[in-house]
Structures are given as C-alpha cells and as structure tokens.
Symmetry: none
C-alpha cells in the first residue's frame, strides 16, 4: 500500500515536471512513465488517460482555490454597499488569503494557468475572468443603488476584471517568494480599487 501510493505519487510528480516544461499537449506519457521508472500502461492503471493525469496534478489545488474565492464572493456581497470605506478596508486580507492558497501549490497552479492548452482545463483563466466579471457586475449593481447618479462603463468593468485576474497570475508567474508576493500585491490592489471607483463607475 505504501508502494502503490509512492509510485502513483512519483508518476504525478514526474508528470508535473513534464507538464511544466512542455505543456499538456507536448508532454509525452512515455517520457513521464519512463522518468518514473514505469511503462505507459501504468499510467492507465492509475489514471483514466492523459487528461486524468493532468487532473491529478492540478485539480485539488484548483478546487481549494475556487472554494476560497467563492466564500469571499458571498461574504463580499453581504457587506453594506453604501459604506464605501469597506472596499479599501479588508481587501488586503482577501489578497493575502488568495495568495496563500495560490502559493500552497504554486507549481500546480502555474501549470493549470499556463500549460493546460489541449486539456479539459484549457481556458481556465477566461473562466476565472467570467466568474469575477459576474461578481463585479453584481457589486456594481449594488453601488448604483446607493449612488444613483453614477453610471457603469461596461468595457472597463470587463477589462478590469481581466486585469484583476491577471494581477494574480502575473504575481504567481513572476514572484516565487510568497512573502514578497504579499508585499507586492498591496499597491496593486490599491490601484485596482481606486481604478474601479473612478473608471468603472463614471
């Protein structure tokens, strides 16, 4: 039983390395199995197929991340929208939580975000943007209720959602130290919030 888990884990580990280097599509199951000291058939014992192996590398971190995000989203919508201060209040904590979950398995998430092309996880970043955009739209609606003289710039809303997501992707990609990441994200978040208030709501 120890053995079984170790071989499986080794397979996942070698897959991680190969996916990181070559991306999903160009990754070779033969190379992965060989690196793990096994044959391709072994992959198909432990996983359904290439995509299943990819999932074994990235799915758990992804789910953890989604959970954090969704919890934050629902909390976010409960706060008093008339109180503009809140927006600049706790977003640092949120950012820190997100960074925390992102860096808990940084490699896996890098693969998920940048090397998934060809797998069933392809386009995950766009799905994140959509998710966030939906949330931001809801937020904007709440603001408009409180400040009826404002209007929403739809394109800006969409684009800033994109930038918001890419802020974290960029961090993950370019900053390998979690502490530094926490430090660097602060002014970025400030900037985003300010831009949100001034450019999404016009």
């Amino acid at each position: 039983m120890d053995n079984e888990n170790e071989r499986r884990k080794k397979l996942i580990l070698c897959a991680k390395k190969e996916f990181m280097e070559k991306g999903f599509e160009k990754a070779s199951l033969r190379a992965i199995s060989a690196a793990a000291g096994l044959t391709t058939g072994a992959v198909y014992f432990f996983f359904k197929d290439k995509n299943g192996l990819f999932g074994a590398v990235v799915d758990q971190p992804l789910q953890r991340f989604l959970q954090v995000i969704e919890q934050h989203f629902s909390e976010d919508l409960e706060t008093d929208m008339a109180d503009l201060k809140h927006i600049s209040g706790d977003h640092d904590d949120v950012a820190e939580m997100i960074i925390s979950v992102l860096y808990s398995d940084r490699d896996a998430l890098l693969i998920l975000l940048e090397k998934a092309s060809g797998s069933s996880y392809e386009g995950i970043v766009d799905r994140f943007v959509e998710l966030l955009e939906k949330h931001n739209t809801a937020l904007a609606r709440n603001y408009l209720a409180a400040y009826p003289d404002k209007r929403v710039n739809e394109y800006m809303l969409h684009w800033l959602s994109h930038v918001q997501v890419s802020a974290f992707v960029h961090l993950l990609t370019h900053v390998d130290d979690k502490e530094r990441a926490v430090k660097e994200i602060k002014p970025v978040m400030d900037m985003l919030v300010e831009s949100w208030m001034n450019y999404v709501l016009e």
Copy 2:
C-alpha cells in the same frame, strides 16, 4: 512571376486561416496546402519550413508595429520630463496610432499574439512587455531626475508595463471594430497614466 506570387499569396492566406483556427502547433501543412490547391512540397519551395510560413503571415505586420512603437519611444524620451502635463496630453494620439497599426492587419496580429505557441514567435507578448518595461524604466529615470524626492516601485513598473501591453491585446481580442477600440481605449489610457504617476512613482 504573377502566378508564383498568387500561389504564394494563396498559401499565406490559407495558412492564416488555419493558424487562426488551430494555432501554430496543431495547424497542418497538409491541410493548408490542400486548401490552397497545392501539395505540401510547395510550402517548402516558397518557405523554409512551417515556421517560415508562419513568419510570412505575421512578420510584416509585426515589423510595421515595431516601427511605430520605436518611433514613439524615441520621440517620447525627447520631451521635457519636467513638464508633467505632457504625459496626459498626447497619449490619446499615441494610442490611436497604435490601434491604427494593430487593426491594419488585425487577424495576423491576433495570430501572432495568441496562436504562436510552438513557433519562433512564441512569447512575443513577453518581449513586448520587456521592451516597454525598458522604455518605462528610462522614462522613470528621467522623472526621478526632475523629482528627486520620489522613488520607483520596481514591481509596479514591471507589472504596469504588462498591463499596458495587455490593454492592447485585450482590445484586439475583444473589440473587433476599430472605431469602438479607439473609444474604449481612452479611459483605459487615462487610468494607466494616473496609476503610473501614483503607484510607479511613490
């Protein structure tokens, strides 16, 4: 020679379509040649290899773009940095010029930016970011000479360069009408300039 040029052009046209649909890697030379009414061998008569064909699709638009950018960069550095107003003055014109060159062969540039993975043009976006970052660093140096009490946030500089590039990529990807693009980019540019002044220089 007319004939040759037409076959060559048709090949490039069909390649454009295939690269757009499948990306560089998954594009099939057989499919491209067949669509052009030729055989794979013909590709190798007109172009060095698959990558050469890709270049024939994207290189000219890319060069045109680079030229515009570089000219702007050199003009930009000649202006008086002590005059902070300039920064918000003409950036609309610059944006319009860039959009103009981007949309003059939008498909080719979309391919270059999003479908080049596997080709020698892979990672072109990152190279744009680097280019811009270098320019922004030079700009920042000039500012610092004029305003010695300020400091530069390096990460912010890097990240905003990234966002600046992605602003245009996003536009190209999501807005198919050039006029609308010109309209939408304005507040985006305003936001970027403001962020630059407030967050890169701290």
Copy 3:
C-alpha cells in the same frame, strides 16, 4: 464455497453479456471483471485464460447438444434403410429435440455459433457440418446398398449438410420463441428431406 461459486457464476454471466455484445475478440476482460465487481486477476483464478472463460460460457450447452446429436445419429443408422418411409416419419421429433436442446440455453449457443471468432471454438459451425456430413455419407451408403441403381452427388451431399446445419443456426438467430421455432422448422425439414431424396441421390 457458496461465495466462490457465486462470484464465478457472476463472472460467467457478465462474460456472457460481453461476449454477446462484442464477440470473443473484442470483449474486454477488464470490462467483464468490472461488471462483476471483481478485478481482472480474479478471472485468472477461476479460469485458465480468456478462452477458458469463454469455454465456461459455452462448453456445457455445447456438450449437451453434441450428446443429443450423437444419440440421434447412432439411432438413425440402426433403422432399416430399405424402409424409405422412416425418413419422413420421425424427423419432426428429431427436429423438436434439437430445437429443445438449442433453446435450453439459446444465448450461450448463439455466442458459440456467431461470436467465437478468435477463440478455440472458432469454426464450430464447420465442425458441425463435417460431423453431419460424415453421418450423411454413412446414411447415403446404406441407401445405396438398398437401391443400387442410384448414385450420390458428393457436392450436393456436402452442401445440403451445410444447409441443414445452417437451418438450425438461422432459426436460433432469427426466431426467439421456441414454440414458433418448432412450427417454422417443419416445412424446412420437409424441404430438406425431399431435396435429399431427389438431389443427393440422383
């Protein structure tokens, strides 16, 4: 022992289903074991190999069938060949007996007859034909002894043996109700007997 027998039986049952659907060759041991809630290894505990499992599905019905046939054959040869009436007398009873044994495990026999390709039972129909042909040859010899002015058409003898066998195979394949089978086989048998008398003996 009860447990063992049940697992074994379940394995056979699931194998039957899979062989029926896919045929011997394309049937998957993995699929069979999984359907039985077991693993492939289990198959190799209960049976020698894939072919052994196939045998467990079809061999018993086959043996029962062969026994009925052989008994009929030996009885058939004991009757007085000079008495031509006998031939049209009891062949209905024989047909009914054969149908009875065929339909006692119709699925297994269908598999044996039509889905055995690749197994050691491949070509069983031809072996039935050979068997019957041998018997028919013996019969013909007896007739010739009684009616010395007749001759035997060898090819017709061979071919009618084939048709005789295929009459039952066709029935099994196309008529799922035993009672209807008994009804439909009658004119077929009449036809075969008549043809035998008129065309095998010329």
Copy 4:
C-alpha cells in the same frame, strides 16, 4: 508513374494476402507495409486509412457484382409471371453469370464475404440477403396475382433467400475451380427453384 502504380498495387496485393490470412481486424498495417517494402506512412499516402485500403482490395469486385445482380433483378421482374416455365428456363444462365463475376476476383470476394468484420463492409452477406429477400418478395407478389389460391410462407421466403445467397458463398468458399463451380451450381439451383415453388408458395 510506373513506379507509383506498382508500389500502390504491391500494397494492395500484400494487403489482400494479410486480410485473407488474418481478417480485417487482426491485419496489421505495419505487416502489410513491411511486406511491400514500405512504411506505414506510405499506406496513408495512398489510402485514407485501414478501411480505405480494405476498400481498395474489395470495392471494385463488389461493385461489379452488384451491377450484375441489379441488372438481373430488373430483367427478372419484367418477365411474364403467369408463365411458370420461365423460372426453370434461364436460371442456369443467370447462375453462370453470377459465378463468372464472382470468380473474376475470387480472393477479393472471399475477403469481402468472410474477413470484413470490423470494416465498413461488415455484414455485407446480410445485406445481400436483404436485397434478395426484397426481390423475392416482389416476385412472390407477382405470382400471387397470377395464382390467387396460393399463400406465402414468410419465414420460408426469408430463409430461402438466405440459403440462396449462402449457396453462392459456399461455392466460392469450397470450390476453387470456376468450371466445377458452374457444374455444381446447377442441381443446387434446380433444388432451390423447386423448393421455392413448393414451400414458399403453399
């Protein structure tokens, strides 16, 4: 151009041999190409895929056969059904024509009839039976119009169609000499016609 045709032909020839020995499914493209002194890739230059190669072996003979059959069918329906004699008149010529086309590429047709499982030609015999059954049904209708006191035994009609087809399959399979085939088929045809009149029409 000579070369091209020869390699293609050699490929078809080797395929024919392999399909004959192993059947469509178990035939190996690698073995075929190797036997032809080529690589598997070459197969895909000349043919679409494995099935396409199979088609190159069997399709032309099949079409020739279908043509003969269809012509015979349409002529057959034009004759005067009240004239029962016709039925025993020319069926020898028909049989000879069929045998002629069957033996013009006997190997290919044997493959088509017995080794096509897994290919798109699978079940061709059943389709022949259906075709013939449809024709026989039309014939029977005509007879009934002329002889209103008769009835049709549906099962017998179906089964005799099957036997009729299998008569030719059996011939092709068991008699390798065309002249002998022509000789052997005669009493078979007589028998079938007689059975038709006595057992299909009752």
